[in-house]
């Protein structure tokens, strides 16, 4: 469905991504793991065009685009198919929980209010945040915020949702509630790419694991295989820590 070919990205002299080929099929849950600084987050940011790429081709089904020189309309077309869940939630502080979820439907998709509200309520129910629908983001815990952010992404019914370390900013006792929601989405067949440090989640929920180090994809394969029996020395090193 979504394919990246030969993605490269540098910040100044520092080459973060050194030629990444990456593919997501419908219904897959891909966990991207690897040490800090290996380029996992940068990969997601390039895929979502939040960062510019220096080189690379993106294919979405039959649609192809040069990632370096993507035009505004190409970017907005591709983004329509993606959802993004940030490490720091980034809920809109000036809007209530339900307005956060409705915003994309109403302002970007031009849906009428009633219909958008129905969808938003359904999504909030799914993530267990219906009770807080009229609260503002400042009144939520981290785990609650992230669940709303997930509802906001899912509401637009994207074909793939990119998760950038969704639990890294949370207290340990709050990560569970977010991972539960993500597992539920995975069980429903949502296509997801998850950059994560949660090995348990990667092993049990992901269908495929991608291990990155030093700007390369070192190893990838079925989740349990890669985590329980890594082939590469570099992966073994990382997992044994």
């Amino acid at each position: 469905m979504l394919e990246i070919i030969g993605l490269k990205k540098s910040y100044g002299d520092n080459e973060i991504l050194k030629g990444i080929d990456f593919k997501v099929d419908k219904g897959e849950v891909i966990a991207v793991i690897g040490p800090s600084g290996s380029g996992k987050t940068t990969l997601l940011r390039c895929i979502s065009f939040l960062s510019n790429s220096d080189e690379g081709i993106m294919r979405l089904d039959d649609y192809e685009c040069d990632m370096k020189s993507a035009t505004k309309s190409e970017v907005s077309h591709l983004r329509e198919n993606m959802g993004f869940v940030f490490q720091s939630f980034n809920l809109f502080r000036n809007m209530t929980v339900i307005k956060n979820v409705m915003e994309g439907l109403i302002t970007a998709r031009k849906m009428d209010k009633k219909e958008a509200k129905e969808i938003a309520l359904e999504m909030l129910e799914k993530v267990g945040m219906l009770e807080k629908k009229d609260s503002y983001p400042d009144e939520l815990s981290g785990g609650q915020s992230q669940r709303v952010a997930i509802a906001r992404a899912v509401a637009l019914n994207p074909r793939v949702i990119l998760f950038d370390e969704p639990t890294s900013a949370l207290d340990p006792e709050l990560t569970g509630e977010v991972l539960d929601v993500m597992k539920k989405l995975a069980d429903e067949g949502t296509t997801m790419v998850v950059v994560t440090h949660e090995m348990g989640f990667a092993r049990d929920v992901a269908s495929r694991v991608v291990f990155m180090a030093d700007g390369y994809i070192v190893e990838e394969g079925p989740a349990k295989e890669v985590i329980d029996n890594p082939r590469e020395e570099r992966t073994r090193q990382f997992l044994s820590r």
């Binding site: 979502s48 939040l50 907005s76 983004r79 329509e80 993606m82 959802g83 993004f84 940030f86 720091s88 980034n90 809920l91 809109f92 502080r93 000036n94 209530t96 915003e103 994309g104 302002t107 970007a108 998709r109 009229d134 609260s135 503002y136 983001p137 400042d138 009144e139 952010a149 906001r152 992404a153 637009l156």
Partner: protein
């Protein structure tokens, strides 16, 4: 205080308060609205990084912050007629105050926009909003909350600075007090009196500010109510 001074001060109160309400306040409000709109445009053209506009904005702020307000006032009222542009005193004052304060408001708004985390824009992009829409829906409302105290500070300064309009023949409160002192020679009492009226106006603005600041907080009604309850409980 002698009976004569007392008589002058009491009989002058309404004579001062009326131009205060009918001239000083409209002058303040209209100038401030102009400065707010212009300030917003100047701020956004800088943060949006629009070529040309950004340089213009920097230049504008440099000029209007770097020269005295009264000189700007004189250029517009006395200077422009020599090149054939005549503006009535009241409107000349509004233009001068508005243009001048726009430079200060622009800086307050720009700083507030820069204080909004980049993630707010990124999240807006990822739900399909364009830059201008994301600014209008997400960033500017939040920036306005941050800029609000500075903007209000500028409004209170403006209220007092409108007294400069007397120097270009606008008959506002300070011009009227000068007329009365010219007749009565009671400078001390009358200038104190007009200072007192300005103080009333700016005190009212201060109350308005704290009222509005409470309104602008993004908390649900339930939380606000709970907070009020706690405060009441603490006060016993």
């Amino acid at each position: 205080m002698s009976d004569r001074v007392f008589e002058i001060v009491t009989s002058s109160f309404m004579k001062l308060l009326i131009p205060g309400i009918t001239v000083t306040i409209p002058l303040t409000i209209l100038s401030f609205l102009l400065s707010l709109v212009l300030g917003l445009l100047l701020a956004v053209s800088q943060t949006a990084n629009i070529k040309g506009l950004k340089q213009f904005s920097v230049f504008y702020i440099w000029i209007f912050r770097g020269t005295p307000l009264i000189v700007q006032l004189f250029i517009i009222f006395h200077g422009l007629p020599t090149i054939g542009i005549y503006i009535e005193a009241f409107w000349a004052a509004i233009i001068a105050f508005g243009l001048n304060l726009a430079a200060y408001n622009a800086e307050a708004i720009r700083a507030a926009i820069l204080a909004i985390p980049e993630g707010q824009l990124e999240a807006a992009y990822m739900i399909g909003l364009s830059y201008p829409i994301a600014m209008i829906r997400i960033v500017l409302p939040q920036a306005f909350q941050i800029a609000f105290p500075s903007l209000f500070n500028n409004l209170i300064s403006l209220l007092k600075d409108t007294s400069l309009a007397s120097s270009i023949t606008v008959v506002e409160m300070f011009a009227v007090v000068q007329q009365i002192t010219g007749r009565t020679y009671e400078y001390f009492a009358l200038y104190l009196e007009v200072a007192f009226i300005y103080l009333i106006f700016s005190t009212l603005l201060t109350f308005l500010q704290s009222y509005l600041e409470k309104k602008f907080v993004w908390k649900s009604d339930a939380t606000k109510e709970e907070k009020r309850g706690r405060r009441r409980a603490m006060l016993g």
